[in-house]
Symmetry: C2
Amino acid sequence: MSIIECIPNVSEGRRVDVVEGIARAIRGVPGVRLLDHSSDSSHNRTVFTMAGDAAALKAAVLAMYERAVPAIDLRAHSGEHPRLGAIDVVPFVPIEDVTMEACVALAKDVGAAVASRFGVPVYLYEEASNNPARRNLEDIRRGEFEGLAAKMASPGWSPDFGPAAPHLTAGASVIGARFPLIAYNINLNTGRLDVAKKIAAAIRQSSGGFRYVKASGFELKDRGIVQVSMNLTNYEKTSIFRVFEAVKREAERYGVSILESEIVGLVPSAALNACAEYYLQLAGFNANQVLENKLRATAHD
Amino acid sequence: MSIIECIPNVSEGRRVDVVEGIARAIRGVPGVRLLDHSSDSSHNRTVFTMAGDAAALKAAVLAMYERAVPAIDLRAHSGEHPRLGAIDVVPFVPIEDVTMEACVALAKDVGAAVASRFGVPVYLYEEASNNPARRNLEDIRRGEFEGLAAKMASPGWSPDFGPAAPHLTAGASVIGARFPLIAYNINLNTGRLDVAKKIAAAIRQSSGGFRYVKASGFELKDRGIVQVSMNLTNYEKTSIFRVFEAVKREAERYGVSILESEIVGLVPSAALNACAEYYLQLAGFNANQVLENKLRATAHD
Protein backbone atom coordinates (compact mmCIF):
# COMPACT_ATOMS: atom_id res chain seq x y z
CA MET A 1 0.00 0.00 0.00
CA SER A 2 1.36 3.41 -0.90
CA ILE A 3 1.88 6.13 1.71
CA ILE A 4 1.79 9.82 0.83
CA GLU A 5 2.31 12.55 3.40
CA CYS A 6 0.29 15.76 3.17
CA ILE A 7 1.03 18.88 5.23
CA PRO A 8 -1.71 21.49 4.76
CA ASN A 9 -0.99 24.94 6.21
CA VAL A 10 -4.16 26.70 7.34
CA SER A 11 -4.46 30.43 8.12
CA GLU A 12 -5.92 30.02 11.60
CA GLY A 13 -3.82 29.55 14.72
CA ARG A 14 -5.85 31.30 17.41
CA ARG A 15 -9.45 29.99 17.44
CA VAL A 16 -9.19 26.52 18.96
CA ASP A 17 -12.75 25.56 17.91
CA VAL A 18 -11.97 26.20 14.23
CA VAL A 19 -8.68 24.27 14.38
CA GLU A 20 -10.29 21.36 16.24
CA GLY A 21 -13.20 21.32 13.78
CA ILE A 22 -10.74 20.89 10.91
CA ALA A 23 -8.82 18.19 12.80
CA ARG A 24 -12.09 16.32 13.42
CA ALA A 25 -12.95 16.56 9.72
CA ILE A 26 -9.61 14.91 8.88
CA ARG A 27 -9.99 12.20 11.51
CA GLY A 28 -13.42 11.38 10.08
CA VAL A 29 -11.95 10.27 6.75
CA PRO A 30 -11.23 6.51 6.64
CA GLY A 31 -7.68 5.61 5.62
CA VAL A 32 -6.17 8.94 6.70
CA ARG A 33 -4.02 9.26 9.80
CA LEU A 34 -3.61 12.71 11.34
CA LEU A 35 -0.03 12.51 12.63
CA ASP A 36 0.24 15.94 14.12
CA HIS A 37 -1.16 19.45 14.13
CA SER A 38 0.44 22.45 15.69
CA SER A 39 -0.81 26.01 15.88
CA ASP A 40 1.25 29.17 16.19
CA SER A 41 -0.73 32.14 17.45
CA SER A 42 1.73 34.85 16.44
CA HIS A 43 1.79 33.36 12.94
CA ASN A 44 -1.98 32.78 13.27
CA ARG A 45 -1.45 29.55 11.37
CA THR A 46 -1.80 25.79 11.91
CA VAL A 47 0.22 23.06 10.23
CA PHE A 48 -1.52 19.68 9.89
CA THR A 49 0.49 16.54 9.09
CA MET A 50 -1.39 13.56 7.76
CA ALA A 51 -0.71 10.37 5.80
CA GLY A 52 -2.65 7.98 3.61
CA ASP A 53 -3.07 6.91 0.00
CA ALA A 54 -4.11 9.25 -2.80
CA ALA A 55 -7.86 8.67 -2.62
CA ALA A 56 -8.03 9.04 1.16
CA LEU A 57 -5.92 12.22 1.19
CA LYS A 58 -8.04 13.80 -1.56
CA ALA A 59 -11.15 13.18 0.56
CA ALA A 60 -9.40 14.60 3.64
CA VAL A 61 -8.25 17.79 1.91
CA LEU A 62 -11.74 18.41 0.53
CA ALA A 63 -13.20 17.83 4.00
CA MET A 64 -10.76 20.48 5.32
CA TYR A 65 -11.98 23.03 2.75
CA GLU A 66 -15.57 22.20 3.70
CA ARG A 67 -14.82 23.31 7.28
CA ALA A 68 -12.22 26.02 6.65
CA VAL A 69 -13.76 28.08 3.83
CA PRO A 70 -16.90 29.14 5.77
CA ALA A 71 -14.90 29.61 9.01
CA ILE A 72 -11.93 31.71 7.91
CA ASP A 73 -12.15 35.20 6.46
CA LEU A 74 -8.78 36.45 5.26
CA ARG A 75 -10.05 40.04 5.20
CA ALA A 76 -10.00 39.88 9.00
CA HIS A 77 -6.86 37.74 9.33
CA SER A 78 -3.54 39.01 10.65
CA GLY A 79 -0.37 37.16 11.56
CA GLU A 80 3.38 37.22 11.07
CA HIS A 81 3.53 34.45 8.50
CA PRO A 82 2.93 35.35 4.82
CA ARG A 83 -0.28 33.81 3.42
CA LEU A 84 -2.45 33.91 0.31
CA GLY A 85 -5.49 31.88 1.37
CA ALA A 86 -7.56 30.31 4.12
CA ILE A 87 -6.02 26.96 3.23
CA ASP A 88 -2.75 28.47 2.21
CA VAL A 89 -0.49 25.63 1.05
CA VAL A 90 -1.09 21.91 0.46
CA PRO A 91 2.03 19.85 -0.38
CA PHE A 92 1.94 16.13 -1.14
CA VAL A 93 5.14 14.21 -0.36
CA PRO A 94 5.94 10.65 -1.56
CA ILE A 95 6.93 8.40 1.36
CA GLU A 96 6.51 4.70 0.57
CA ASP A 97 5.70 2.67 -2.54
CA VAL A 98 4.67 5.77 -4.46
CA THR A 99 6.33 7.94 -7.11
CA MET A 100 6.69 11.71 -7.31
CA GLU A 101 4.65 11.50 -10.54
CA ALA A 102 1.73 10.02 -8.60
CA CYS A 103 1.96 12.89 -6.09
CA VAL A 104 2.01 15.43 -8.93
CA ALA A 105 -1.10 13.79 -10.40
CA LEU A 106 -2.78 13.89 -6.99
CA ALA A 107 -1.96 17.61 -6.56
CA LYS A 108 -3.56 18.37 -9.93
CA ASP A 109 -6.61 16.24 -9.18
CA VAL A 110 -7.12 17.89 -5.78
CA GLY A 111 -6.46 21.36 -7.26
CA ALA A 112 -9.14 20.88 -9.91
CA ALA A 113 -11.63 19.60 -7.31
CA VAL A 114 -10.95 22.51 -4.91
CA ALA A 115 -11.49 25.05 -7.68
CA SER A 116 -14.69 23.51 -8.97
CA ARG A 117 -16.32 22.72 -5.60
CA PHE A 118 -15.32 25.78 -3.60
CA GLY A 119 -14.58 28.41 -6.24
CA VAL A 120 -11.10 28.91 -4.78
CA PRO A 121 -8.39 29.58 -7.42
CA VAL A 122 -5.42 27.18 -7.20
CA TYR A 123 -1.76 27.60 -8.14
CA LEU A 124 0.36 24.48 -8.61
CA TYR A 125 3.88 24.63 -7.14
CA GLU A 126 7.20 22.80 -6.85
CA GLU A 127 7.19 19.47 -8.74
CA ALA A 128 3.55 19.95 -9.80
CA SER A 129 4.27 23.24 -11.57
CA ASN A 130 5.05 23.34 -15.29
CA ASN A 131 6.09 26.98 -15.08
CA PRO A 132 9.59 27.83 -13.74
CA ALA A 133 8.41 31.26 -12.58
CA ARG A 134 5.71 29.60 -10.48
CA ARG A 135 7.67 26.79 -8.93
CA ASN A 136 8.79 28.43 -5.68
CA LEU A 137 6.19 29.00 -3.03
CA GLU A 138 7.78 32.36 -2.12
CA ASP A 139 7.30 33.66 -5.69
CA ILE A 140 3.65 32.64 -5.80
CA ARG A 141 2.90 34.02 -2.34
CA ARG A 142 4.68 37.35 -2.84
CA GLY A 143 2.16 40.20 -2.31
CA GLU A 144 0.06 37.97 -0.03
CA PHE A 145 -3.73 38.01 0.23
CA GLU A 146 -3.83 41.80 0.26
CA GLY A 147 -2.08 42.03 -3.14
CA LEU A 148 -3.73 38.98 -4.67
CA ALA A 149 -6.45 40.62 -6.77
CA ALA A 150 -3.92 42.86 -8.51
CA LYS A 151 -1.42 40.02 -8.96
CA MET A 152 -4.01 37.68 -10.46
CA ALA A 153 -5.00 40.35 -12.96
CA SER A 154 -1.40 40.81 -14.11
CA PRO A 155 0.24 38.86 -16.99
CA GLY A 156 1.46 35.36 -16.14
CA TRP A 157 -0.59 35.00 -12.96
CA SER A 158 -3.83 33.40 -14.03
CA PRO A 159 -4.28 30.36 -11.78
CA ASP A 160 -3.87 26.73 -12.83
CA PHE A 161 -7.46 25.97 -11.77
CA GLY A 162 -10.52 28.06 -10.99
CA PRO A 163 -11.53 31.71 -11.39
CA ALA A 164 -9.02 34.40 -12.38
CA ALA A 165 -9.86 36.41 -9.24
CA PRO A 166 -9.47 35.66 -5.53
CA HIS A 167 -12.19 34.00 -3.52
CA LEU A 168 -13.70 36.84 -1.47
CA THR A 169 -12.82 35.38 1.94
CA ALA A 170 -10.58 32.38 1.19
CA GLY A 171 -8.15 33.99 -1.27
CA ALA A 172 -6.26 31.36 -3.26
CA SER A 173 -4.48 28.08 -2.49
CA VAL A 174 -1.06 26.79 -3.49
CA ILE A 175 -1.16 23.03 -4.04
CA GLY A 176 1.73 20.86 -5.17
CA ALA A 177 4.14 18.01 -4.69
CA ARG A 178 7.61 18.07 -3.22
CA PHE A 179 10.31 15.87 -1.70
CA PRO A 180 10.49 15.48 2.08
CA LEU A 181 12.17 18.49 3.69
CA ILE A 182 14.84 17.96 6.32
CA ALA A 183 15.41 20.79 8.79
CA TYR A 184 19.06 20.38 9.74
CA ASN A 185 21.25 22.60 11.93
CA ILE A 186 24.95 22.48 12.64
CA ASN A 187 26.26 24.20 15.77
CA LEU A 188 29.81 25.52 15.73
CA ASN A 189 32.32 25.70 18.55
CA THR A 190 32.56 29.48 18.29
CA GLY A 191 30.62 32.66 19.02
CA ARG A 192 31.66 34.27 15.73
CA LEU A 193 28.50 34.98 13.73
CA ASP A 194 30.54 35.97 10.66
CA VAL A 195 31.86 32.40 10.44
CA ALA A 196 28.34 30.90 10.47
CA LYS A 197 27.20 33.40 7.84
CA LYS A 198 30.19 32.74 5.58
CA ILE A 199 29.69 28.99 5.81
CA ALA A 200 25.96 29.33 5.09
CA ALA A 201 26.77 31.42 2.01
CA ALA A 202 29.31 28.85 0.82
CA ILE A 203 26.95 25.88 0.98
CA ARG A 204 23.54 27.23 -0.06
CA GLN A 205 22.32 27.14 -3.62
CA SER A 206 21.40 30.81 -3.83
CA SER A 207 25.03 31.85 -3.51
CA GLY A 208 26.69 29.02 -5.42
CA GLY A 209 26.57 26.03 -3.06
CA PHE A 210 24.62 22.77 -3.12
CA ARG A 211 21.54 22.74 -5.29
CA TYR A 212 19.08 21.56 -2.61
CA VAL A 213 20.31 23.54 0.39
CA LYS A 214 18.83 26.69 1.91
CA ALA A 215 21.02 28.03 4.72
CA SER A 216 21.60 30.97 7.00
CA GLY A 217 23.83 31.80 9.96
CA PHE A 218 22.42 32.56 13.43
CA GLU A 219 23.66 33.31 16.92
CA LEU A 220 22.50 31.09 19.82
CA LYS A 221 23.12 33.84 22.34
CA ASP A 222 22.26 31.92 25.50
CA ARG A 223 24.89 29.29 24.61
CA GLY A 224 27.49 31.71 23.22
CA ILE A 225 27.74 29.77 19.97
CA VAL A 226 26.59 30.13 16.36
CA GLN A 227 24.54 27.91 14.11
CA VAL A 228 24.33 27.14 10.41
CA SER A 229 20.59 26.53 10.02
CA MET A 230 19.51 24.64 6.90
CA ASN A 231 16.63 23.19 4.95
CA LEU A 232 17.63 20.24 2.77
CA THR A 233 14.98 20.09 0.06
CA ASN A 234 16.02 16.88 -1.70
CA TYR A 235 18.06 14.54 0.46
CA GLU A 236 18.47 12.02 -2.37
CA LYS A 237 20.40 14.50 -4.50
CA THR A 238 22.04 16.62 -1.80
CA SER A 239 22.77 14.23 1.07
CA ILE A 240 23.03 15.11 4.75
CA PHE A 241 26.52 13.60 5.04
CA ARG A 242 27.87 15.63 2.12
CA VAL A 243 26.53 18.86 3.61
CA PHE A 244 27.93 17.92 7.03
CA GLU A 245 31.38 17.23 5.58
CA ALA A 246 31.32 20.48 3.59
CA VAL A 247 30.40 22.53 6.65
CA LYS A 248 33.13 20.80 8.66
CA ARG A 249 35.73 21.60 5.99
CA GLU A 250 34.62 25.22 5.69
CA ALA A 251 34.74 25.62 9.47
CA GLU A 252 38.32 24.33 9.57
CA ARG A 253 39.22 27.19 7.28
CA TYR A 254 38.45 29.52 10.20
CA GLY A 255 39.97 27.30 12.87
CA VAL A 256 36.50 26.29 14.05
CA SER A 257 35.13 22.80 14.70
CA ILE A 258 31.64 21.32 14.73
CA LEU A 259 30.15 21.08 18.21
CA GLU A 260 27.09 19.03 17.20
CA SER A 261 24.35 18.87 14.62
CA GLU A 262 20.62 18.39 15.01
CA ILE A 263 17.66 17.25 12.96
CA VAL A 264 14.57 19.29 13.73
CA GLY A 265 11.36 17.30 13.38
CA LEU A 266 11.08 14.30 11.11
CA VAL A 267 13.61 12.65 8.83
CA PRO A 268 13.01 9.79 6.35
CA SER A 269 14.91 6.65 7.33
CA ALA A 270 16.49 6.51 3.86
CA ALA A 271 18.28 9.81 4.58
CA LEU A 272 19.85 8.34 7.74
CA ASN A 273 20.65 5.00 6.10
CA ALA A 274 22.53 6.88 3.38
CA CYS A 275 24.80 8.32 6.10
CA ALA A 276 25.56 4.85 7.50
CA GLU A 277 26.29 3.64 3.96
CA TYR A 278 28.65 6.50 3.30
CA TYR A 279 30.68 6.45 6.50
CA LEU A 280 30.85 2.65 6.80
CA GLN A 281 31.77 2.41 3.09
CA LEU A 282 28.93 -0.11 2.70
CA ALA A 283 28.94 -1.93 -0.63
CA GLY A 284 25.80 -3.44 -2.15
CA PHE A 285 23.51 -2.28 0.63
CA ASN A 286 19.81 -2.10 -0.10
CA ALA A 287 16.78 -0.97 1.87
CA ASN A 288 15.31 -4.48 1.98
CA GLN A 289 18.12 -5.41 4.36
CA VAL A 290 16.61 -3.19 7.02
CA LEU A 291 14.73 -5.56 9.28
CA GLU A 292 11.77 -3.23 9.77
CA ASN A 293 11.36 -2.76 6.00
CA LYS A 294 11.38 -6.52 5.54
CA LEU A 295 8.75 -6.90 8.25
CA ARG A 296 6.53 -4.32 6.63
CA ALA A 297 7.04 -5.62 3.08
CA THR A 298 5.93 -9.06 4.18
CA ALA A 299 2.96 -7.64 6.02
CA HIS A 300 1.73 -6.30 2.68
CA ASP A 301 1.64 -9.73 1.02
CA MET B 1 1.65 -4.17 19.12
CA SER B 2 4.87 -5.96 19.97
CA ILE B 3 6.98 -7.69 17.33
CA ILE B 4 9.26 -10.59 18.16
CA GLU B 5 11.38 -12.35 15.55
CA CYS B 6 11.86 -16.11 15.77
CA ILE B 7 14.40 -18.01 13.67
CA PRO B 8 13.98 -21.79 14.13
CA ASN B 9 16.72 -23.97 12.63
CA VAL B 10 15.38 -27.35 11.51
CA SER B 11 17.53 -30.41 10.68
CA GLU B 12 16.10 -31.01 7.22
CA GLY B 13 17.38 -29.29 4.09
CA ARG B 14 16.87 -31.92 1.38
CA ARG B 15 13.29 -33.20 1.39
CA VAL B 16 11.22 -30.36 -0.07
CA ASP B 17 7.90 -31.91 1.01
CA VAL B 18 8.96 -31.92 4.68
CA VAL B 19 10.25 -28.33 4.53
CA GLU B 20 7.13 -27.12 2.72
CA GLY B 21 4.91 -28.97 5.20
CA ILE B 22 6.56 -27.07 8.06
CA ALA B 23 6.28 -23.76 6.17
CA ARG B 24 2.56 -24.41 5.61
CA ALA B 25 2.10 -25.16 9.30
CA ILE B 26 3.64 -21.75 10.14
CA ARG B 27 1.56 -19.90 7.55
CA GLY B 28 -1.57 -21.47 9.00
CA VAL B 29 -1.10 -19.68 12.33
CA PRO B 30 -2.95 -16.34 12.48
CA GLY B 31 -0.79 -13.37 13.47
CA VAL B 32 2.49 -14.96 12.35
CA ARG B 33 4.32 -13.84 9.23
CA LEU B 34 6.81 -16.23 7.66
CA LEU B 35 9.41 -13.77 6.34
CA ASP B 36 11.80 -16.24 4.80
CA HIS B 37 12.95 -19.83 4.77
CA SER B 38 16.10 -21.09 3.16
CA SER B 39 17.40 -24.65 2.94
CA ASP B 40 21.01 -25.76 2.58
CA SER B 41 21.36 -29.30 1.32
CA SER B 42 25.01 -29.82 2.29
CA HIS B 43 24.12 -28.63 5.79
CA ASN B 44 20.85 -30.59 5.50
CA ARG B 45 19.24 -27.77 7.43
CA THR B 46 16.56 -25.12 6.93
CA VAL B 47 16.38 -21.74 8.63
CA PHE B 48 12.89 -20.25 9.02
CA THR B 49 12.45 -16.56 9.84
CA MET B 50 9.11 -15.45 11.22
CA ALA B 51 7.63 -12.58 13.20
CA GLY B 52 4.65 -11.99 15.43
CA ASP B 53 3.68 -11.44 19.04
CA ALA B 54 4.40 -13.92 21.83
CA ALA B 55 1.14 -15.88 21.68
CA ALA B 56 1.21 -16.26 17.90
CA LEU B 57 4.86 -17.35 17.84
CA LYS B 58 4.27 -19.92 20.57
CA ALA B 59 1.46 -21.44 18.49
CA ALA B 60 3.67 -21.41 15.38
CA VAL B 61 6.62 -23.12 17.07
CA LEU B 62 4.34 -25.83 18.48
CA ALA B 63 2.80 -26.31 15.01
CA MET B 64 6.34 -26.80 13.65
CA TYR B 65 7.07 -29.53 16.20
CA GLU B 66 3.75 -31.18 15.30
CA ARG B 67 5.01 -31.54 11.71
CA ALA B 68 8.74 -31.98 12.27
CA VAL B 69 8.90 -34.54 15.09
CA PRO B 70 7.16 -37.36 13.16
CA ALA B 71 8.93 -36.44 9.90
CA ILE B 72 12.59 -36.13 10.95
CA ASP B 73 14.67 -38.97 12.36
CA LEU B 74 18.08 -37.77 13.52
CA ARG B 75 19.38 -41.34 13.56
CA ALA B 76 19.28 -41.19 9.75
CA HIS B 77 20.33 -37.54 9.43
CA SER B 78 23.67 -36.39 8.07
CA GLY B 79 24.92 -32.93 7.14
CA GLU B 80 27.86 -30.60 7.63
CA HIS B 81 26.23 -28.40 10.23
CA PRO B 82 26.39 -29.46 13.90
CA ARG B 83 22.96 -30.35 15.35
CA LEU B 84 21.38 -31.82 18.45
CA GLY B 85 17.75 -32.20 17.44
CA ALA B 86 15.10 -32.30 14.72
CA ILE B 87 14.17 -28.75 15.63
CA ASP B 88 17.66 -27.82 16.62
CA VAL B 89 17.60 -24.18 17.79
CA VAL B 90 14.76 -21.72 18.42
CA PRO B 91 15.87 -18.16 19.26
CA PHE B 92 13.43 -15.35 20.07
CA VAL B 93 14.65 -11.83 19.30
CA PRO B 94 13.01 -8.58 20.52
CA ILE B 95 12.30 -6.22 17.61
CA GLU B 96 9.64 -3.64 18.43
CA ASP B 97 7.76 -2.61 21.57
CA VAL B 98 8.97 -5.65 23.48
CA THR B 99 11.65 -6.27 26.10
CA MET B 100 14.34 -8.94 26.25
CA GLU B 101 12.68 -10.09 29.49
CA ALA B 102 9.47 -10.82 27.58
CA CYS B 103 11.45 -12.87 25.04
CA VAL B 104 13.13 -14.81 27.86
CA ALA B 105 9.71 -15.53 29.38
CA LEU B 106 8.45 -16.67 25.96
CA ALA B 107 11.45 -18.99 25.49
CA LYS B 108 10.74 -20.62 28.88
CA ASP B 109 7.03 -20.92 28.15
CA VAL B 110 7.65 -22.50 24.74
CA GLY B 111 10.39 -24.76 26.16
CA ALA B 112 8.05 -26.12 28.86
CA ALA B 113 5.29 -26.72 26.29
CA VAL B 114 7.63 -28.50 23.85
CA ALA B 115 8.88 -30.82 26.60
CA SER B 116 5.44 -31.68 27.92
CA ARG B 117 3.64 -32.09 24.58
CA PHE B 118 6.34 -33.81 22.54
CA GLY B 119 8.63 -35.37 25.14
CA VAL B 120 11.61 -33.51 23.67
CA PRO B 121 14.14 -32.31 26.27
CA VAL B 122 14.90 -28.58 26.05
CA TYR B 123 18.00 -26.56 26.96
CA LEU B 124 17.64 -22.81 27.44
CA TYR B 125 20.43 -20.69 25.97
CA GLU B 126 21.80 -17.14 25.71
CA GLU B 127 19.69 -14.61 27.62
CA ALA B 128 17.21 -17.32 28.68
CA SER B 129 19.90 -19.39 30.42
CA ASN B 130 20.60 -18.99 34.12
CA ASN B 131 23.73 -21.12 33.88
CA PRO B 132 26.93 -19.51 32.51
CA ALA B 133 28.20 -22.92 31.32
CA ARG B 134 25.06 -23.34 29.24
CA ARG B 135 24.75 -19.92 27.74
CA ASN B 136 26.61 -20.45 24.45
CA LEU B 137 24.94 -22.54 21.79
CA GLU B 138 28.30 -24.11 20.86
CA ASP B 139 28.81 -25.43 24.39
CA ILE B 140 25.34 -26.97 24.53
CA ARG B 141 25.61 -28.51 21.09
CA ARG B 142 29.11 -29.94 21.53
CA GLY B 143 28.98 -33.73 20.99
CA GLU B 144 25.94 -33.36 18.75
CA PHE B 145 23.02 -35.79 18.51
CA GLU B 146 25.35 -38.78 18.45
CA GLY B 147 26.90 -37.85 21.80
CA LEU B 148 23.71 -36.55 23.39
CA ALA B 149 22.68 -39.56 25.51
CA ALA B 150 26.08 -39.69 27.18
CA LYS B 151 26.20 -35.91 27.65
CA MET B 152 22.72 -35.76 29.19
CA ALA B 153 23.71 -38.46 31.68
CA SER B 154 26.79 -36.52 32.79
CA PRO B 155 26.82 -33.99 35.69
CA GLY B 156 25.52 -30.50 34.87
CA TRP B 157 23.68 -31.52 31.71
CA SER B 158 20.17 -32.38 32.81
CA PRO B 159 17.87 -30.31 30.59
CA ASP B 160 15.87 -27.26 31.68
CA PHE B 161 12.63 -28.97 30.65
CA GLY B 162 11.59 -32.54 29.84
CA PRO B 163 13.15 -35.99 30.23
CA ALA B 164 16.81 -36.47 31.19
CA ALA B 165 17.40 -38.53 28.04
CA PRO B 166 17.19 -37.66 24.32
CA HIS B 167 13.99 -38.12 22.35
CA LEU B 168 14.61 -41.27 20.28
CA THR B 169 14.32 -39.58 16.89
CA ALA B 170 14.14 -35.83 17.64
CA GLY B 171 17.09 -35.52 20.08
CA ALA B 172 16.87 -32.31 22.08
CA SER B 173 16.15 -28.64 21.33
CA VAL B 174 17.95 -25.47 22.32
CA ILE B 175 15.48 -22.64 22.91
CA GLY B 176 16.34 -19.16 24.04
CA ALA B 177 16.36 -15.41 23.58
CA ARG B 178 19.06 -13.24 22.10
CA PHE B 179 19.69 -9.81 20.60
CA PRO B 180 19.54 -9.37 16.82
CA LEU B 181 22.74 -10.63 15.20
CA ILE B 182 24.43 -8.49 12.57
CA ALA B 183 26.67 -10.31 10.09
CA TYR B 184 29.19 -7.66 9.13
CA ASN B 185 32.30 -7.97 6.93
CA ILE B 186 35.06 -5.49 6.19
CA ASN B 187 37.13 -5.99 3.05
CA LEU B 188 40.72 -4.72 3.07
CA ASN B 189 42.76 -3.27 0.23
CA THR B 190 45.37 -6.02 0.48
CA GLY B 191 45.89 -9.70 -0.23
CA ARG B 192 47.74 -10.27 3.07
CA LEU B 193 45.78 -12.84 5.06
CA ASP B 194 47.99 -12.29 8.13
CA VAL B 195 46.73 -8.70 8.34
CA ALA B 196 43.07 -9.80 8.33
CA LYS B 197 43.79 -12.45 10.96
CA LYS B 198 45.69 -10.03 13.19
CA ILE B 199 42.90 -7.46 12.99
CA ALA B 200 40.26 -10.13 13.72
CA ALA B 201 42.22 -11.20 16.79
CA ALA B 202 42.56 -7.60 17.97
CA ILE B 203 38.84 -6.82 17.84
CA ARG B 204 37.08 -10.04 18.89
CA GLN B 205 36.09 -10.76 22.46
CA SER B 206 37.74 -14.16 22.67
CA SER B 207 41.21 -12.66 22.32
CA GLY B 208 40.65 -9.42 24.23
CA GLY B 209 38.67 -7.20 21.87
CA PHE B 210 35.10 -5.93 21.96
CA ARG B 211 32.71 -7.87 24.15
CA TYR B 212 30.03 -8.53 21.48
CA VAL B 213 32.24 -9.27 18.46
CA LYS B 214 33.10 -12.65 16.95
CA ALA B 215 35.64 -12.29 14.13
CA SER B 216 37.95 -14.19 11.82
CA GLY B 217 40.18 -13.37 8.85
CA PHE B 218 39.55 -14.86 5.39
CA GLU B 219 40.97 -14.64 1.90
CA LEU B 220 38.64 -13.68 -0.97
CA LYS B 221 40.87 -15.42 -3.51
CA ASP B 222 38.94 -14.47 -6.65
CA ARG B 223 39.30 -10.80 -5.78
CA GLY B 224 42.85 -10.98 -4.42
CA ILE B 225 41.82 -9.32 -1.17
CA VAL B 226 41.19 -10.33 2.44
CA GLN B 227 38.20 -9.94 4.71
CA VAL B 228 37.56 -9.47 8.41
CA SER B 229 34.32 -11.41 8.83
CA MET B 230 32.28 -10.64 11.94
CA ASN B 231 29.17 -11.35 13.93
CA LEU B 232 28.04 -8.46 16.09
CA THR B 233 25.94 -10.02 18.81
CA ASN B 234 24.70 -6.90 20.59
CA TYR B 235 24.76 -3.79 18.43
CA GLU B 236 23.47 -1.61 21.27
CA LYS B 237 26.54 -2.28 23.38
CA THR B 238 29.14 -2.86 20.68
CA SER B 239 28.15 -0.54 17.80
CA ILE B 240 28.89 -1.06 14.12
CA PHE B 241 30.63 2.32 13.82
CA ARG B 242 32.97 1.64 16.73
CA VAL B 243 33.99 -1.70 15.24
CA PHE B 244 34.46 -0.09 11.82
CA GLU B 245 36.67 2.65 13.25
CA ALA B 246 38.72 0.13 15.24
CA VAL B 247 39.31 -2.05 12.16
CA LYS B 248 40.29 1.03 10.16
CA ARG B 249 42.80 2.09 12.81
CA GLU B 250 44.28 -1.42 13.11
CA ALA B 251 44.61 -1.65 9.32
CA GLU B 252 46.53 1.64 9.21
CA ARG B 253 49.07 0.02 11.50
CA TYR B 254 49.94 -2.27 8.55
CA GLY B 255 49.68 0.43 5.88
CA VAL B 256 46.38 -1.04 4.72
CA SER B 257 43.09 0.77 4.08
CA ILE B 258 39.44 -0.33 4.08
CA LEU B 259 38.12 -1.10 0.60
CA GLU B 260 34.48 -1.49 1.64
CA SER B 261 32.27 -3.11 4.23
CA GLU B 262 29.09 -5.14 3.86
CA ILE B 263 26.11 -6.15 5.92
CA VAL B 264 25.03 -9.70 5.16
CA GLY B 265 21.29 -10.21 5.53
CA LEU B 266 19.17 -8.10 7.81
CA VAL B 267 20.06 -5.21 10.09
CA PRO B 268 17.80 -3.38 12.57
CA SER B 269 17.25 0.25 11.59
CA ALA B 270 18.38 1.37 15.05
CA ALA B 271 21.87 -0.02 14.30
CA LEU B 272 22.12 2.11 11.15
CA ASN B 273 20.60 5.18 12.80
CA ALA B 274 23.26 4.95 15.51
CA CYS B 275 25.91 5.28 12.77
CA ALA B 276 24.27 8.42 11.37
CA GLU B 277 24.07 9.84 14.91
CA TYR B 278 27.74 9.15 15.56
CA TYR B 279 29.23 10.48 12.35
CA LEU B 280 26.93 13.50 12.05
CA GLN B 281 27.50 14.30 15.76
CA LEU B 282 23.73 14.43 16.16
CA ALA B 283 22.59 15.86 19.48
CA GLY B 284 19.23 14.98 21.02
CA PHE B 285 18.18 12.63 18.25
CA ASN B 286 15.45 10.12 19.01
CA ALA B 287 13.85 7.32 17.05
CA ASN B 288 10.46 9.08 16.94
CA GLN B 289 12.02 11.57 14.56
CA VAL B 290 12.25 8.89 11.89
CA LEU B 291 9.28 9.52 9.64
CA GLU B 292 8.48 5.83 9.19
CA ASN B 293 8.49 5.23 12.96
CA LYS B 294 6.12 8.14 13.42
CA LEU B 295 3.81 6.74 10.73
CA ARG B 296 3.77 3.35 12.40
CA ALA B 297 3.40 4.71 15.92
CA THR B 298 0.33 6.66 14.86
CA ALA B 299 -1.09 3.64 13.06
CA HIS B 300 -1.12 1.88 16.45
CA ASP B 301 -3.34 4.49 18.09
